[in-house]
Amino acid sequence: MITLLKDIKLVDGYGVKTDRDAIYLVDDRIETVLPPGTVVDAEYSLPGHLVMPGGIDLHTHIGGGKVNIARLLLPERPARDAIQELHDRKPWLEPLSCPVPNTWETGQRYLQMGYTACFEPAMLAANARQSHAEMQDTPWLDTGAYVLLGNDRMLLDMLARAVPQSQIEEYIGWMIAAHAACGVKVVNPGGIDAFKFNQRSMNFDDLHPHFGISPRHILQCLARATDSIGLAHPLHVHCSNLGIPGNIATTLATIDAVEGSRLHLTHAQYHCYGNEGPHGFSSGAALLAERVNRSDRLTIDVGQVLFGQTVTLSADTMHQYANRKLASPRKTIFQDLECQAGCGVLPFRYRQSQYVHGLQWTIGLELFLRVVDPFKVFLTTDHPNGGPFTGYPHLIRLLMDYDFRMSIFERLHPDVKGTSSLPSLKREYRLDEIAAVTRSGPARALGLVQRGTLAEGSLADVVVYREDRNAETMFASPSMVFRRGDLVMRNGVCLDDCPKATILATLRDRDRIAGWGRSKAHRTSWKERYGYSPDLTAMRLDELRGEGRDVEWNASHE
């Protein structure tokens, strides 16, 4: 199948292609020229349109235990009349049926915005098969997941016993390979487990009440291992002290602690709070952005807050539990899970009139605007924690349109307006910068060399947008989406289902890693800990393949 898109502007994170105005989709690849005499199967002349690579969300909670628990907790649905009214006015404003929609709706709504790959950021090893099953049932999207480590007692025990780093790396590599992950995430290192020992807070250098090791120690070990085993994606870090005023100090200490290793700080907005100002809560965005700008080993995703109803869900039970009284509606779920982590689910409403929520909104935007290189900052709301992913077009408009940004800023709590430096940040994102924060940057950070770019030979996952002065309109309703060269969405209507891939990590020295799971000593200690063998939760690759599904290996970090 050969498709020609012509008379069109080509934009990716590497710039606007001024030398070309056409692109060929040849089967599943992008080509810029074809041999003379080649017959094209479909041709679209698209003046007034632009094409970008498919969007990539590198941090969105779309599959696994806590996601499904959130669905279960929130059976309430908006009234159909209300939905219809919004739908009639602006289709992209149609709310999700639930802040954590079912798998089909998730796939559909992402595709309708031009996203083609999404990554579940917190997959418990015990829960890996469920996470993948949910993602397999999410149509149209390629998916991947980061395995959650750093609160698993196998690792904590190894650190406490001062096991050599090489053995720890084998364990980490095995956990990634056996649970079909493409990265490693750490959440509040050691803190989730400490909460199980009834410790209600944990600073970066506090010692775990049972294992006697600190978050710093855990983080350093994981960051070193991630680089050493060749993972393309750096350690994905949810820092200690999430949401606590003054936590910018912890975040900066975290960055300093792993000097020399690569690091990705996730939902950074929740981790850069000062404790100054009228309410003892202020922005630390300038300090964090300055670090990001200075480092070539540090990336962040923002976790932007958007106003409205959502649900927060996190493995960080310690901090979710601390916020339990803020739940709206007033019901919460907390779980201690399998000696590996936890889960806290808390419905939440972000309000414009509320000081903290308003400041969180400005802090997220500050981060976007202060980080100079758009390949170091990625667009996320930490769906659904900061708000549902369907808010991305709105967020893009906030970044591209200063006046629009200020029109919302004006509605915030007076103390936010009095203290925030947001009005002084006049930067407006260009289209290629939007492409960088929504596809090219995440692709590079994940080692997906054939994605996020319109270069010759890249994957033919592309999106066609009708140019519009209103960026929200433009990015909410692309005209066409192609997956592997096939048209799968046109004017909001999702057409055929398409092949899907699970993205997996390429690891160095896989044989050595495989040996970890086969070692009798390791199998015995695993069984003593969990009551079952490591084979029980490990996945076979053939489980990920079949019926239009396959696996795709990312590039290894060199």
């Binding site: 015990a126 009834n198 079952y532």
Partner: protein
């Protein structure tokens, strides 16, 4: 690249999903390993023997089933669904025919869901509880151990941990918990009164009805786990009239304990939890839904299979089977149990997807003989605490089952459903 691990071998006869060592998988399925496994194996083999008699022409069967579905505008999809693959297929079928979807024995699961949807939950998974708990409260009766015989071994980590066994336990059951290594105190009491008794115990430790040892355990506990099985609450003998409220009260007590210490509920589910989970991620709801044009509608007190059957059974009698509005039932079953009486007696056109041949001989009934899931095919199941989804190789060799009737191997439930929908 190859997988860096072996494949687990599982017993899928109860929601504990025990891993089988090579010696455990011996053909005799002796009671020594597990009484439930011994019993279920008898059921499977007897179902297989009964069903081995007729041969089914699959094209004819599919045609007949499709006719029933085509003539109906009110389809109920119900049954006993244990694995994710069957759940996916059942959902797809109900969606295709705009039907109502509810498992036959959904009360136990839905009681807990409704309580959680109202007030939330503090819970703990099995391995976590096994490792962290320093005081167990196990609520129930012998029925729990009939349902999951190896639960005492699965909850014990070898340390002598205090356990309050509340409810109606016989001496052999108490002994089973003790043998697993727990320091057990049995507290015979009415199940109905347990949430209130626990609340009272916390408020007025000095006035507890039970002995001081119990008070001391509760007082000293740093991590408390409260274990019960949802199914047991549905037993009439336990006389719990409002199960939802009972669960809410207990969850409230656990939430209060968490203000001071750590505590969690370990609500043990049957294998049907797999359906609940799958239905939740595919539709947003755990079951008791009807598919409408705009999606699934959830009415947990209305879309109940047993009520639907009771309602339709009367009205269906005497009506012309070809009437387009006539209701029909699709019974989806991945166990080897027989059809429940109300389904047999309903008198509504029936499509049965099950390994066991229905004893019913009715012109409006079609049987699509299915492979035994977890035995003849490898599927994914949720463990009873719903924290683990596992997929194991067949626990036994097919040669240990009575011979398959001539006509070839059987289709799995989801393969039949794919054929039904394909038309």
């Amino acid at each position: 690249m190859t997988d860096p691990h072996e494949t687990a071998r599982l017993c899928t006869f109860c929601s504990l999903l025990c891993e089988l060592d090579r010696e455990d998988a011996s053909p005799d399925f002796g009671e020594a390993f597990c009484s439930r496994r011994h019993r279920e194996w008898e059921i499977v083999t007897s179902a297989r023997r009964d069903a081995a008699l007729p041969t089914i022409d699959s094209d004819d069967a599919i045609d007949a089933a499709q006719k029933i579905l085509a003539n109906s505008k009110d389809v109920l999809v119900t049954g006993r669904v244990h694995c994710v693959e069957t759940a996916r297929a059942a959902i797809q079928l109900a969606r295709r025919f705009s039907g109502m979807l509810d498992l036959w024995e959904s009360d136990a699961g839905m009681d807990a869901v409704l309580a959680i949807q109202k007030n939330g939950l503090n819970s703990v998974s099995l391995a976590e509880a096994r490792e962290r708990t320093d005081c167990w409260i196990v609520i129930g009766s012998d029925g729990l151990l009939e349902e999951v015989p190896r639960l005492p071994q699965a909850t014990s980590n070898g340390r002598k941990v205090p356990m309050l066994l509340m409810g109606n336990w016989s001496a052999p059951s108490i002994a089973a918990w003790k043998d697993a290594g727990f320091d057990v105190v049995g507290i015979p009491c009415s199940m109905k009164k347990i949430p209130g008794a626990l609340a009272e115990a916390t408020r007025q430790a000095q006035n507890m009805e039970w002995d001081s040892q119990v008070g001391e355990w509760l007082h000293q506990a740093k991590y408390l786990t409260v274990l019960w099985s949802g199914r047991e609450l549905t037993y009439a003998s336990n006389n719990i009239t409002n199960r939802e409220l009972w669960i809410e009260s207990l969850l409230h007590w656990i939430a209060q304990r968490n203000e001071v210490i750590r505590a969690g509920a370990l609500i043990w589910s049957s294998l049907e939890a797999g359906f609940q989970q799958t239905c939740t991620w595919q539709t947003g709801f755990p079951g008791r839904i009807r598919f409408l044009r705009q999606g699934a509608e959830y009415r947990p007190h209305e879309y109940v299979a047993k009520r639907w059957v009771a309602r339709k059974a009367g009205t269906a009698k005497g009506e012309d089977a070809r009437t387009p509005s006539k209701p029909c039932i699709v019974w989806v079953d991945d166990t080897s149990e027989s059809l429940p009486d109300p389904i047999v007696q309903a008198g509504v056109p029936l499509v049965v997807l099950s390994p066991r041949k229905p004893t019913l001989d009715h012109p409006s009934m079609v049987w699509l003989p299915c492979a035994s899931t977890g035995i003849e095919s490898t599927e994914a199941y949720f463990r009873g605490d719903q924290s683990l989804l596992v997929s194991g190789r067949n626990p036994v060799s097919i040669t240990e089952l009575p011979e398959v009737p001539s006509g070839g191997s059987r289709l799995r439930v989801n393969q039949w459903i794919a054929r039904l929908i394909a038309s």
